[in-house]
Amino acid sequence: MNEQNLQDLFRSARQDASASKTLTDAVMHCVDPAPETTPAAVLRAVARNFVWAFAVLLVCAAIGSLLTQAAGEMSAAMHPDFPPAGLLSQRSGIGDVSLEPDVVAVFDMKPSFSFLEILARAVLPLSFHLLAAWFLLATVGISVSANDRLEQRSAV
């Protein structure tokens, strides 16, 4: 291969790319304005976004609620006697503030929570609720179209 061959190869590539309507369309697609920018179209787009976001919100909230419920049941199964019944009966008396030594001993036996349990009880349900809220906030919105930016620039 000599210099002329390489020149011809690049020239051929340039000519092909220059003539490619696919390339022009792909480029213009990145900078073209939205086809409809009338108020009605914008409202329709917002409503569509809202419906979509609300559906995701409901799904996430439902998953979060299910997880919360499951976490409660799991907690009850793992710690059936917490808080101790004895402590509750002692404290049910009106004005009774002194606890027996054995009851104090029971009170001091704090249940230990494993990492997985904390994850299941708090982090997962909460994260689904947060995800739902974030999605709702993030999805409903309107971006300024490229055409508007171009018009603003031409006005300047």
Partner: protein, 170 residues
Amino acid sequence: MILQDRFRSLVKEYQGLVYSIAFGILLDAQDALDATQETFTKAFEEPRFLDDGFNRKAWLVRVARNQAFNARRSLVRRLRSLMRYAGLSWAAETTSVEEEIIRAETRQELTAVLESLDDDEREIIGLRFAAELSYEEIAAELGIKIGTVMSRLSRAKRKIGMALEEVEPS
């Protein structure tokens, strides 16, 4: 809409230049298309781009090179290459694009010639042959001396020649 039409006509005028520079560096049709899109998106946002006295070619060459090198470093590109290497296709990849923008034989020949070069050599070959810049323009573009341009070009050309000599017997 007049500005939109004007921009489209400029895209048509320079898309071949930008795409061939990007392809010369990336050697991948889809990546070159992405870099071309990024370049023209930046052009669209550049207030001087539609001005008559603006040196569009020099500006586009610089931005196209930068976009191509950014794409080379991007995580998405590496992931895409990895998936392709593993025999998996990329969901957003459009094979028809590869077929339509540059003819297959031209693409294959260019790839065969340039894949033996490193990034710097591919860049300088692209500037010389795709952008058709003079030695002085290349030196100004890269911020190096003309002598360095000539020696790099000569090394790249020698490498291409050697690569072809090795392939030719088979």
